[in-house]
């Protein structure tokens, strides 16, 4: 296997784990390693400190070679308190390294973690793991003594102390991290002092035995940054608006985990994306439809419950044949379910969850970086086919970071709006079945559209049976014709003579791909296709599938894609799935089928 290390940071939300992990990962990526992250946090904002409910985790993997996922079990667990250790100890490999913040394992911390008084948790841990008992508090307070801060303020820098230790342990450029911290925390001497103290502690004293060499093996050139799925979607939407050359309205209502896209767009302020925080999910989708009617591109995002609320709006967008992009950042459901955990259980709803005959294109992002491309493609299909499009992401993609090569604007795909042929009728169709986009303000173009069935070509109200049948077929045919915008069918892994095919979609990509590479390395002959498009399916897909004796469909739900494909193809499929709120990891996949 590739040389890589999996680290799991665990503690209270106030421990600064996300910042610590983010800095490490960015510095590792900048030094030429590949990285992937996974955030695991509770739905509560600040559950009581030190308790099991308050623990959040940040897992990352640093590797010399290209990787696809943040790893299975951890080589190193950094536990800021006893509850964090208790919650995540099962994720640490036997013989792995436990870095324990000493003060988080005192009698009070044990009580908060609901452990019997008097237990020596670290001694118990030492039976299974290597234990580095790190006096985080003492070292931090010592390093910051000269600043004469109160203990509470000084302890804010404890995550930087741990950063110093980990930077040294994994051979990341200490100078680069220091430069970064200097520019980031201009006025915070404490963070810098704590960081240096951690670095010195590691270098001079205690942690020599735990150092891991990760040689640098960078190949790709270009300008990079680390990006998570929410950031990628925000940038992808901005890029889509730029490529379209028309205003975009991003309208959404706060919901975890989709809100991060709104936050990111609000921070970036792309001048061609107007933001609207609507009063509810329904207002979000219908204002987006209004923007599309007015000649801009309406975009909305939500998670499962919000998708349900928007489904009537999707029907209107299907009927009016207006472009619309709906991003569904899936989470554990139904209902409020597991709001911060990941699932792919909205697929049925995305494909089928509307009243009437209302087909629309559905596609899925497979990774954080891929979400950028997926957002542009979703906008392209919406505009060039004059249809609502659902883009599926999920909580895992939303919060997981990886290095991203920033594309040049010239590399981005074009998005061409159907021309407003003012003399044409509103529902006259071009050779792809697409109607013109005639926005108010177009002279001589005045027309009325709405939810009532429209007459072929004119769009005037029609209850005529033959007309309805013709329009139902025309709308479906237009969506089917979206395949002209697809790239070639990508077979991610192909082995000569394979008679087994794995199909997967969305965020399972990384774990499935790693699993497939391992199987291939072990001599197992199996091919792998990862679906970008869930509807309409890639026109080459069925032909490809027919070559195999055995088809395995992997997904984070109870077999929704498998059942959908069985309905379409009437062929036997094996379903490999889980619905636990946690993404697959390669170790687990290796066990799940053979």
């Amino acid at each position: 296997m590739e040389p890589s290390v999996v680290v799991l940071l665990a503690g209270d939300s106030g421990d600064g784990i996300q910042l610590l992990g983010g800095e490490l990962v960015r510095a590792a990526a900048q030094s030429g390693r590949d990285v992937r992250t996974f955030s695991d946090f509770p739905a509560e904002i600040r559950a009581p400190q030190g308790t099991l409910n308050g623990v959040s985790g940040f897992q990352f993997r640093i590797a010399s070679e290209t990787i696809h996922e943040p790893g299975s079990s951890a080589d190193c667990l950094v536990a800021f308190n006893a509850a964090a250790y208790v919650k995540y100890r099962d994720r640490l490999k036997p013989g792995g390294l436990l870095v324990a913040a000493q003060e988080g394992f005192d009698a009070k911390s044990l009580a908060l973690a609901k452990l019997a008084a008097g237990r020596d948790l670290l001694a118990e841990a030492a039976e299974q793991f290597r234990v580095l008992n790190l006096p985080v508090k003492d070292l931090t307070l010592g390093a910051l003594r000269e600043l004469k801060l109160g203990q509470r303020d000084a302890m804010q820098s404890r995550n930087m102390l741990v950063l110093g230790v980990l930077v040294w342990m994994y051979g990341i450029s200490a100078e680069a991290v220091e430069a970064e911290l200097r520019s980031r925390f201009k006025n915070n001497q404490g963070n810098l002092l704590a960081y240096r103290a951690g670095l010195n502690f590691a270098e001079t004293l205690e942690v020599q035995d735990y150092r891991v060499a990760l040689p640098v093996n960078s190949v790709e050139r270009g300008t990079f940054k680390t990006i998570n799925g929410s950031q990628a979607l925000a940038l992808g939407l901005a890029a889509a608006a730029h490529q379209l050359g028309r205003p975009m309205l991003y309208a959404s209502y706060p919901i975890t985990p989709a809100s991060e896209i709104l936050h990111e767009l609000a921070r970036l302020q792309p001048q061609y994306v107007t933001l609207f925080q609507a009063e509810d999910e329904i207002a979000a989708v219908t204002s987006a439809i209004g923007a599309s009617f007015a000649g801009g591109l309406g975009v909305t995002a939500s998670s499962g419950p919000g998708l349900s609320l928007k489904s009537e709006g999707l029907g209107l967008a299907v009927m009016t044949e207006l472009p619309l992009v709906l991003i569904d950042v899936q989470r554990g459901g139904p209902s409020t379910g597991l709001p911060t955990k990941t699932e792919q259980s909205d697929l049925n709803q995305a494909l089928h969850g509307r009243h009437g005959e209302a087909p629309l294109p559905v596609l899925a992002a497979r990774s954080s970086a891929d979400a950028f491309d997926a957002a542009i493609l979703a906008a392209k299909i919406a505009v060039e086919c004059m249809t609502p499009v659902i883009l599926l992401s999920d909580a895992y993609i939303a919060g997981s970071a990886q290095p991203w090569r920033i594309p040049e604007v010239a590399e981005l795909p074009s998005i061409t709006a159907p021309s407003p042929r003012a003399s044409d009728l509103p529902y006259a169709r071009d050779e792809h079945g697409v109607r013109p986009w005639v926005a108010p303000g177009t002279a001589g173009g005045a027309h009325r559209i709405g939810g009532l069935e429209g007459e072929v070509e004119t769009g005037r109200i029609s209850y005529d049976p033959e007309n309805h049948q013709a329009m139902v077929k025309a709308r479906a045919a237009k969506v089917d014709a979206a395949v002209r915008l697809y790239g070639p069918l990508e077979v991610v892994q192909q082995c000569p003579g394979a008679d087994t095919l794995v199909l997967a979609w969305g965020s399972t990509y990384g774990a499935v791909r790693s699993d497939m590479e391992r199987r291939s390395a072990a001599g197992q002959k199996v091919d792998y296709i990862h679906l970008r498009h869930l509807h309409p399916l890639h026109p080459e897909l069925k032909k490809q599938v027919d070559r195999y004796r055995r088809i395995i469909v992997i997904e984070m739900n109870e077999g929704q894609l498998a059942r959908h494909l069985q309905g379409l193809w009437a062929i036997p499929l094996e379903s490999v799935c889980k619905t636990s709120g946690q993404p697959f990891n390669p170790d687990e996949l290796a066990e799940l089928w053979n």
């Binding site: 270009g222 219908t286 209107l316 009325r448 939810g451």
Partner: protein, 321 residues
């Protein structure tokens, strides 16, 4: 070239019931569009679902017949994408006050720059006669054969409470008054809520007769005019309102109480507008109750214009040569 109301007639056949109050509203509306120089190519009518919401189909302009209750949201999207368009919301009591209550109040509090024409007939017409949020207690409808037990909602106090900056009432049976209010709603910068009493002659005939019929109108309808006494009763008013320490009091005009003693209508006074809007009995106000100036809803503008390339490179980047 000057347009006439005929130029605003769409090719659709009008499909309201014969005798419906909507015909008068449509006629006055297209006349106002023509007389005020609206441009069919730059005008958008947005409606929800219901009898009233069919109106956009009958007007030669751009139009969206959208989802039940969601016209304010669709209009918000249109205005955000192109603030220069003339946009109207056409809605009814069920559409705006029941299923679309949330959309209405948020459009009003944001001061979306759109007139909102709320056709109030106190009944669900298109679904064939169930009681609506403005139906009166005891009203017998198909879904309330023994009389409604729900307390009705007052669209005017709701609008004032939601922060509307222009609130008025008119009626289908008074074309001149209706045209005047429609024109004024169009002139207002911000959300203008115009409640229009509209007779549904099939399911709730005569609901507003006491205020619309010539024989009873004088005694029950107060036609408000800014700067004039709040008085009624005919060409020579017989009664007026007295602002008695904060509560409106009906006074007969005569030696003890003259017109000069009456409450003078001031549409900028929100408290008094609430008092007028709260007249829910046989005496009801018509015309402009309230008007205020407040910035209209608009999208936040970026503080810094950056190219897409700069945007993609924002944050911490590194380059591998």
């Amino acid at each position: 070239m000057e347009l006439t109301s005929k130029d605003f007639q769409s090719p659709e056949d009008v499909r309201w019931c014969p005798g419906c109050g909507d015909y008068s509203i449509l006629k006055q509306f297209t006349e106002v569009l023509a007389s005020r120089g609206s441009d069919p190519d730059r005008t958008v009518l947005v409606s929800g679902i219901g009898c009233s919401s069919r109106l956009p189909y009958y007007v030669n302009s751009y139009g969206v017949h959208s989802l039940h209750g969601r016209a304010p949201s669709v209009a918000t999207g249109i205005k955000l994408a192109n603030p220069d368009l003339e946009v109207w919301i056409i809605t009814g009591d069920g559409d705006a006050l029941s299923i679309g209550g949330n959309q209405l109040i948020h459009a009003l509090r944001r001061n979306l720059n759109v007139p909102i024409l709320l056709f109030n007939n106190e009944i669900y017409g298109l679904t064939k006669g169930q009681y609506s949020p403005t139906s009166r207690e005891g009203q017998v409808t198909k879904s309330t054969p023994r009389g409604s037990v729900d307390h009705p909602l007052n669209p005017l106090t709701l609008a004032l409470g939601a922060g509307a900056t222009w609130v008025a009432r008119s009626m289908d049976r008074n074309p001149a008054h209706l045209r005047e209010q429609l024109a004024a709603s169009q002139s207002h910068q911000g959300s203008a809520l115009l409640e229009i009493y509209q007779n549904c002659n099939v399911f709730h005939d005569g609901a507003f007769e006491v205020w619309t019929d010539k024989t009873s109108q004088a005694a029950h309808a107060v036609f408000l005019e800014a700067g004039k006494p709040v008085a009624w009763g005919g060409s020579e008013p017989s009664h007026a309102l007295h602002w008695n320490g904060g509560s409106p009091e009906v006074r007969e005009l005569g030696r003890d109480f003259g017109l000069s003693d009456a409450w003078v209508h001031d549409p900028s006074d929100r408290i008094k507008a609430f008092a007028l809007a709260s007249l829910e009995g046989e005496l009801r106000p018509f015309g402009l109750l309230y008007r205020a100036e407040r910035p209209v809803f608009a999208a936040a503008q970026p503080t810094e214009i950056r190219s897409l390339s700069e945007l993609l490179r924002s944050g911490r980047t590194w380059t591998v040569e």
